[in-house]
Point group: D2
Chain length 359, copies 4
């Protein structure tokens, strides 16, 4: 595991002034857990990352959820139903593009095992799997992810989020550097209550020349690391979690603000980039069974989404940066290499020239 | 006013077996009122119809709402914000295509009068106006609707719905016959509760050759009434109201089923037809002010939408038919004439051959 | 193979008066082929159906395409990218809900085999797989479909469409009867040109009480065949093909009219039904490589979509009915049985009372 | 008229390194013209801005167009039909929120005058009007815009774009400073061809604390100018024009990238901000009449949109900044004041510390 000191905040850089949760990660939202399965062997540099919205049976107790397709150059599974019904009923898996099928099969193993009624006395279940293309470092045509790897990622879920070149992030690239998994969180005050909003990204996007740290242009640094590949290809998956009581419509509005965080890092949302945001709230669950015909839900007043939108912008920006600062250098397929950006930490900080942004 | 005996049910034809509300109209949903302003003078055959979701101040106490654009060949005002925020904050006005602006101005007069804080100490307001093209009967380029007509329609709102060639329906055509305003409702049982779903249509659509009554083809009859114009042009606006507690996402799912009702009357959703459905629930209101930071709402379990979907299919079908059976013949611009379909009542009933459908 | 005489037209019933293509099926669109792999062994009653838009390499020469989600209670793969880019770059596979992953893996095998550059010197590929839940007849939790079955369906593609209880349709149910695969087509005249529009459905939807044949209610017949299950659950996938030159926006407009065909058979678009329409035009292809920077395409004038919309309404209605009339009775899991509706042919025709609809 | 030296580039700051068109404005796209009508009298600080995609009759020769609703807290007219049909058939008007109706009426006057066939021998026309809320400076409830003002803006269209506190921009606020109309453009090379992409914004958005100039935080400066109002309320309308041959689907992809430009200026897309992007290409027109049944269009290969996306990000960012740097201080309703940001030019440039960004 990469040490905690790899976080952007340990570099002395904070994004904005909103407070973060205790671990500055997705799992600051109580009940959310994250697990990885990492494959790192020569030309095989890939993995699976699992996110569980709550520790119980998600099929029986679904969470309100929403999807925003920032750019649909992507091969996800399960988004159509989330969009229609506004709930998530399985954990979320992230993996490489050609492994969505085997990951989905593993997720089905897991979910069918938990709920023997599915497909027998009740309907089916909607597995959600998202992906990025790690083919620069990983021999993606080999489709090395199996159902078992998905099950391992699910089994490894804990309230601590390992970041960088791990899990689905193992083979990812971001602005010409080594990308991967990054996370961050923000606290939101509504009346007397404090809510948490967490973001986790699988970063695999960005034109090398466009990178920015909290506004400071770093494109020329990145270009030196990546002479060949300068376009905003790849993809990014953004998972947002909150314990603020939100309807699926409100979660979609939150998800839409992910693009602000991406743009702040320098993305122009490239044409070949599959940029997808998923948001859920685990403040309340929706039962599968209709025993309570007209249940009651809390829903934050629309005006209070404002802070949530700010939180998304900042947490997504910082999560992308954490995916960079945590990422160790990886050498993969055909000797392809992506350097961890921490090799240029001193120069980056010198350019950035301030430990703490005024926003 | 056209007598009540003009309803399709008074012809002895019922659509489906679900029970209707007391008046078989939109206003069976308690609190909903409808008003018309009708202009009928030679080449001027047009009007305004107003729908109020509840009797109070809608800006201060909004109703959950949703839009479904069946075919966007239409010039409505206000749908974008309903889609984003999931609420309706003004009455709905219906009028002819080139009068949406003056109708919107009248609606603004009404709403700004009710809420002096709008535009001063709080934000703006989103007037909702939908339209169909009545240019066959009405000299539409003359733009004869003024703000005052909009205010009259709003002032005329009562719990009784006049149907046929009235209000915005004055100049409309449907399947080659005289169309206009039609309404119908259905009752939904959820647990011990009974909810009402009402539909009101402004019918101005339909290819003369495709008309059906509860499955019985009547296209050849219609064609004789309309030798020139056989395409599914025009438009239809569908307003759905319910007192079932629904989120805006659920209301959108209800709105989407409007197309089933249209298809059952014979529409194939013509390319030049602006077919728009708006749905709202007045079971609960959402306050403009955020005093209660995290209010609580009821939301029917998704499984119970099933009956609502059936209700929409049947009520929309019957509302279209009521717009036909209530409509009196109108002679308008350049002597253009649309016959009320009741002139062929006997032949239609003979062909239909059954007083009551088995579904 | 079920004999050709099973078609609705061989019962003497035509839907509408537009002419059909030579085979009255999807493959009347030149270049389109369809293949099945069927598993029929005791509790295993399922399969895969493959549709190829043209005989070449679809990745290198993509076809304009569009998706319309009628009701998103479904677990498809690949629709997000079709929506963004407006092209289809693989064949379409249909199978059961829990086999989308293995079918997608088989489709990847096929496509990666065809295009060794994918994932190496160019980007990834977007496999499209849609599904319905055949769990009433098929032991769906067993996930009996393998990659190999997907490859067999692809290998079996020919210009003849077997219909009924075959391929992905093996275990499907429709309005309480045996459903499955059905197809139909219509010819469209634009200027001097004649184009073909074909529809293929995988029918697994419909409330037993709501079935209609060209307007004639048959719900009570169906109810007797299906005492337990009356709701509009299941799903339906609709694939539309045409050789009319259409943009992806126009194809989406065509796809949206599928719902008219469904409604004409009696669907109210049930809340638990995953109803998805996919449309493509193989009149022109779009090259993967950008050698021609600004290529030229034909696009039918919007007014000429009108006939296409009529064609979709009628062809989808007839395709659903062909899925019923072709379907043989299947006994599957736990002795569950779905009767082929042809056992009631005489009674249905007696009720319908006319060999040819006037529309 | 504010002198040309007010442009951000005359401050010595360029956004990115892509070349601009000759005037660095929307009208660098040949054929596009822009006109204003400005009302500036005490509490009346408002206006209308008109954009004509080409000099001819737009109804008879429409331009491909698309809409992207970034945040739908807005009251536009006409977007639904642009979304459905993918064309613009009138000029675009911008004005204040409560004047969309009178502006639409003026636009109808203009268009009906141009095309006597509309509403008589052919269908109706879809006026497009977008708005922002200028109620802080302008007595918006007075609804001072008349049809005549709309006609004046249309009559004033030229190939030069006045920027700042003019036209619809007269009463707008942006990040606590005086906002208004801003424009910028970029050149795109595709093969041997050079295309232009222009952006025009009506800026009325932004949380005072979040403002950035090419990455440099300026929030504390802005806060001092705007002690009361710090949230991202208001709205922004973005109009994109290009002469690159694009389909409406591609134009929508371009429009979606507007949000990147906004985010780069510091927007987090506030919940109460109506942020709408409209894009059109005047490279080719689509005739209203279907004389040519299957016309031919060029469409840039999808890969070449990449530069267009970069151009949108940069041109929108610079257009917002031009709206700020051009804007003169305005005192309006109740003595409310918005300062032109140029009063702090020296301090801003000192902080920014570089005349030319490395991206």
């Amino acid at each position: 595991m990469v040490e905690q000191t790899a976080a952007l905040r340990h570099w002395g850089v904070s994004i904005g002034t909103m407070p973060t949760g205790a671990a500055n990660s997705l799992t600051d939202v109580a009940g959310v857990t994250v697990g990885h399965c990492t494959l790192a062997d020569d030309a095989i540099q890939t993995g699976v990352t699992a996110i569980k919205p709550h520790p119980g049976n998600l099929f029986r107790n679904k969470v309100p959820a929403a999807v925003h397709v920032i750019n649909g150059f992507g091969k996800s599974i399960g988004l159509v139903q989330v969009d229609e019904l506004g709930v998530l009923e399985t954990p979320i898996l992230l993996t490489n593009t050609f492994s969505i099928a085997s990951a989905a099969d593993g997720l089905l193993d897991y979910c069918l095992g938990q709920s023997p009624e599915v497909g027998v006395t009740t309907g089916t279940i909607n597995p959600v799997v998202c992906e990025c293309n790690d083919g620069y470092l990983n021999e993606i045509r080999g489709r090395h992810i199996t159902r078992q790897h998905a099950l391992e990622a699910l089994a490894n879920c804990t309230s601590q989020v390992d970041q960088g070149s791990v899990g689905a992030g193992r083979g990812m690239s971001c602005f010409g550097w080594k990308g991967g998994v990054g996370s961050s969180s923000r606290l939101i005050s509504v009346g007397d209550a404090t809510y948490t909003l967490g973001a986790l990204v699988l970063s695999n996007f960005g034109d090398a020349g466009w990178l920015r740290l909290d506004g400071t242009p770093l494109g020329d640094l990145a270009a030196s690391a990546d002479p060949e590949r300068s376009e905003d290809k790849g993809s990014v998956i953004i998972v947002l979690a909150t314990d603020m009581p939100c309807s699926s419509r409100q979660l979609q509005r939150l998800a839409k603000r992910s693009v602000v965080g991406l743009a702040r890092t320098g993305s122009y949302i490239g044409q070949g980039s599959g940029d997808i945001a998923l948001a859920f709230s685990n403040a309340q669950t929706k039962p599968h069974r209709a025993e309570d015909a007209v249940p009651t839900f809390q829903e934050v007043h629309e005006d209070h989404l404002e802070q949530g939108f700010q939180a998304v912008a900042l947490a997504v920006e910082e999560a992308v940066w954490n995916s960079l600062t945590y990422a160790e250098t990886v050498v993969g397929r055909s000797g392809h290499t992506r350097q961890g950006i921490s090799v240029r930490k001193d120069e980056i900080l010198r350019r950035h020239g301030r430990g703490h942004s005024t926003l």
